[in-house]
């Protein structure tokens, strides 16, 4: 199967601190890849490098077949990104946000119209279409944010802790959206703190102190570490970390 994301010894240093230390991994097309790690382990830094928001210090990486050093602009056309912090325009309505991001990604007006309708129906936000994003509850905002990251049908979507602070029901719905997305062939690269969510992923990697300590399917990892849940696996690996909260 062709690789969606491929990194080789990717490293990022901030001064003398190495945030991401020689990570090498591969994510296949259509896969849901869980990128786990404690706070400060370097997940967000690694993800920001892959999205073209941050210059890697050394190593190699390609996203959707494009090089992160030289083809950043092509990468941006082919990926969607949902950051940790909610970052749609709160003072615009749902419809206006869809329109805005649709246009920026170069979608035609008819396509935007079609997408808007699909999106509103899928998220059941028909009635709120013209209300300001600021007035929505967090869970709805997150789902909207996710859907907008997909508006231009990217090959890969990066989700940085998408379910932080969201109630269990909405989390469940959120994961349903993720499954739908992966089924349609989009690669999902997701970071999370919740180990139950890790079980939903096809494969996960666990980062400790800037290094990837384990990478496999959740089942294999549990077998390998002789653990019954991903929670235990995570504890075993993260215990030795120096940069825990």
């Amino acid at each position: 199967m062709e690789a969606s994301i491929k990194t080789e010894n990717l490293t990022k240093c901030f001064g003398s601190f190495t945030a991401v230390n020689n990570i090498t991994f591969k994510v296949d097309k259509g896969e849901i890849f869980g990128f786990l790690g404690a706070n400060g382990a370097g997940k967000t830094t690694a993800m920001r490098m892959l999205c073209g928001l941050l210059h890697p210090t050394s190593g190699k990486a390609s996203v959707a077949g494009f090089d992160v050093f030289t083809q950043r602009e092509q990468i941006k056309k082919n990926i969607g990104y949902m950051s940790q912090k909610f970052s749609l325009y709160e003072d615009l309505t749902i419809k206006e946000n869809i329109n805005f991001f649709g246009t920026i990604y170069g979608l035609s007006n008819t396509k935007i119209k079609e997408k808007t309708e699909q999106l509103l129906i899928r998220l059941n936000l028909m009635e709120e279409a013209n209300s300001l994003v600021a007035s929505l509850p967090l869970g709805w905002k997150q789902k909207l944010s996710f859907s907008l990251a997909l508006i231009h049908d990217p090959k890969i979507v990066f989700l940085d802790e998408p379910t932080g602070g969201v109630d269990p029901i909405t989390r469940r719905q959120f994961w349903e959206l993720i499954y739908e997305t992966a089924d349609s062939g989009t690669t999902v690269f997701v970071t999370t703190h919740y180990m139950d969510e890790a079980e939903y992923c096809n494969r996960v990697s666990i980062m400790v102190d800037g290094k990837i300590e384990a990478i496999d399917t959740p089942d294999n990892l549990k077998k390998l570490f002789d653990a019954s849940t991903m929670d235990e696996v995570f504890y075993l690996l993260a215990r030795g970390a120096s940069t825990q909260e």
Binding site: G52, E73, F100
Partner: protein, 371 residues
């Protein structure tokens, strides 16, 4: 092109939805023009005057009533000794003390040199200089008249050269005419820098700028998308300000209005650039505010709005060569009061344009989509 249009539309929607900013945009020019013009008035009237008349003659009486008759002085104290008069000055009851000595009238008749002493409270040196010179003028006029009437033209009064002034471009020496165009320039500066600097920092704080950075929007598109809406806002404020100037203060605009708009557009290009620059070096709105205040106070104080820029020390004039506000205050005054043409103001225009180009080049260089 569609991207830029989407960015501009978004910006306008945000401006119109932000009720406070919207009110500020409309109210600020009107209120500031009304308040500042009256407050920043350099005409000095109603100076509190104390008099010590030791002569108590008909001549000294005439002098005092002459001073009182002018609109500049109000007689607030009539002391019997110089000591008492000085005390009133020290207490701040009076700002100027006119002392007429014992032998004043006698000296006139004996053809000695009659003297009058003027003592001024010079804490505010501008008031002091003006008060003393008003009083001096009135006394001088009195002396000439008096000499003529007493001698009935028989004694030859030393010939004086009579100087008459005609005040060009501001014939009534109306202070408002000088302040109005200047205040207008300051207004456009404040709002321009304020809106542009805070706007981008706010996108940083909200995280929306990162969302834009993962899209294919280019730096240039982003900056044009910010420049254009704020330029429109700035020109709108100019329009509002001009309306106030024309309809409320009956200011006659001598020069071309089109030129005025052209000048302000170029000016906005450079101050908005400065605002963007501030936003790229600030992480939050508080920081941006302080950096902005720092620059704005220097720009405005050195601009020549309140004091003449030509009489500033060389180093200050040096700073002014890169101070866009200095050029704008100058240009607006020239165009509005004197009717200068583009050719007349070409030097200042070139300077503003160069500042704008340099600043915006730095902005494009330093605004990073990738860190």
């Amino acid at each position: 092109m569609r991207t830029i249009r989407a960015l501009i539309q978004k910006e306008f929607k945000q401006i119109f939805r932000n009720k406070i900013i919207l009110r500020l945009i409309i109210m600020l020019p009107v209120v500031q023009l009304i308040i500042l013009i009256y407050a920043a008035n350099n005409d000095i009237k109603n100076i509190s005057m104390g008099v010590v008349d030791l002569d108590r003659s008909s001549t000294s009486q005439k002098i005092i009533s002459k001073l009182q008759a002018s609109s500049y002085f109000i007689l607030n104290d009539f002391s019997t000794s110089k000591k008492q008069g000085i005390r009133m000055l020290e207490k701040g009851k009076t700002d100027i003390l006119i002392e007429i000595p014992h032998s004043f009238e006698k000296d006139i008749y004996n053809n000695e040199h009659p003297r009058v002493a003027i003592t001024v409270n010079a804490i505010n040196s501008t008031v002091a200089i003006l008060a003393a010179s008003y009083a001096g003028n009135i006394l001088g006029g009195f002396a000439a008249e008096y000499a003529f009437s007493v001698t009935q033209g028989k004694i030859e009064v030393p010939k004086q050269i009579n100087v008459t002034n005609s005040n060009w471009f501001n014939p009534l020496l109306d202070y408002k005419s000088l302040m109005l165009p200047g205040v207008l320039a300051i207004l456009i500066t404040i709002m321009g820098i304020l809106l542009s600097a805070l706007n981008i920092v706010r996108e940083k704080e909200m995280g929306t700028i990162e969302q834009l950075n993962v899209t294919p929007v280019t730096k240039l598109q982003f900056i044009i998308g910010k420049l254009f809406p704020f330029m429109v806002v700035g020109l709108f404020q100019l329009t509002l300000g001009l309306c106030v100037a024309v309809f409320l203060y009956n200011l006659e605009i001598q020069g071309s209005i089109v030129l005025l708009y052209g000048v302000v557009t170029v000016y906005l290009f450079s101050v908005l650039g400065i605002g963007f620059l501030i936003s790229t070096i600030s992480d939050n709105q508080v920081q941006a505010m302080f950096v902005m205040l720092f620059f704005m106070i220097i720009f405005i104080l050195l601009s020549g709005l309140f004091t003449s820029a030509d009489s500033m020390p060389v180093w200050a004039q040096g700073i002014n060569t890169i101070n866009p506000t200095y050029y704008l205050v100058d240009i607006i005054r020239l165009v509005v009061l004197k009717g200068s043409t583009l050719f007349d103001i070409r030097k200042q225009m070139t300077a503003i344009l160069i500042i704008g180009l340099v600043v915006n080049a730095v902005v494009i260089q330093s605004y990073k989509k990738v860190v």
